[in-house]
Subunit: 154 residues, 2 copies
């Protein structure tokens, strides 16, 4: 266990290019945005992209470098009440991991054009996974503290 834990160091595998250079520019959720963003995978990891163009949607995991890792509760701006960070998508959380679902528009070598990111320009890329409707899509999911249960884009 000690060995496992000491090895939980993340490698940067690429950079995410977005039009959002300041925190205030970021849309509240990536899906609200029609902006094109580009995921640049470092050349040494390019072989891991083989057949990525066969996926219509991807999970993108990146590092929230502005998050405060000590914060355990957050007050979402559109809600005004305090919730535990694990019940929110706050950028402040014990491990600064962000997760977006994006639409893959084009794959060109080690660069992916995508829609639906809410990352700050220059964010460090950590992982890409194919989104599978059969195991990842739960249209019935609800979050009671959100006005509409999170059922629609907010």
């Amino acid at each position: 266990m000690a060995e496992e834990i000491s090895s939980m160091v993340l490698e940067p595998i690429g950079v995410i290019h977005t039009p959002y250079s300041k925190r205030e520019d970021i849309p509240r959720q990536g899906r609200l945005s029609l902006e094109l963003c580009e995921i640049e995978v470092f050349p040494e990891y390019a072989p891991a992209l083989k057949d990525i163009e066969q996926c219509t949607h991807l999970f993108v995991i990146f590092w929230l470098h502005l998050g405060d890792r000590r914060r355990l509760t957050a007050v979402p701006p559109h809600d005004g009440k305090e919730h535990g960070v694990f019940a929110t998508r706050s950028p402040s959380r014990p491990n600064s991991l962000a997760l977006d679902v994006v639409e893959l528009l084009e794959a060109n070598g080690n660069r992916l054009k995508v829609r639906g990111m809410d990352a700050l320009d220059g964010s460090v890329l950590l992982d890409i996974k194919p989104y599978s409707a059969g195991i990842d899509s739960f249209p019935q999911a609800r979050i009671a503290w959100q006005k509409d249960g999170g059922a629609t884009d907010r």
Copy 2:
């Protein structure tokens, strides 16, 4: 940037208890499994769970301690062809991050009863996020290399 990268060390925030003590026991995808699993959040992070019971479904991110971080391609057993790891859910990938969507059945203090996990018993928990149908559900997503495009549980 150098400072950001040097700080990308993950903290264990809990342990995942599942009936799967060996790799061969793990269902191919968590959603195939009706087994109950328990997520134990370490007491110091329990305040981050406030209002979690208001979420019907959660993203769970955990560490794939048996993954080989040097592998960039994988041959899924049900497919027999080589794909880049970013186009698969292989446990071997540059950053050993696993992502499951689970159904939350019960929240009791710092323990969550969930269904849909494919983690090995004792896996290190890294993050929990609420699943929002409006931003995370894409029933139309397809993966062309999978027989049915990933549209149904496999």
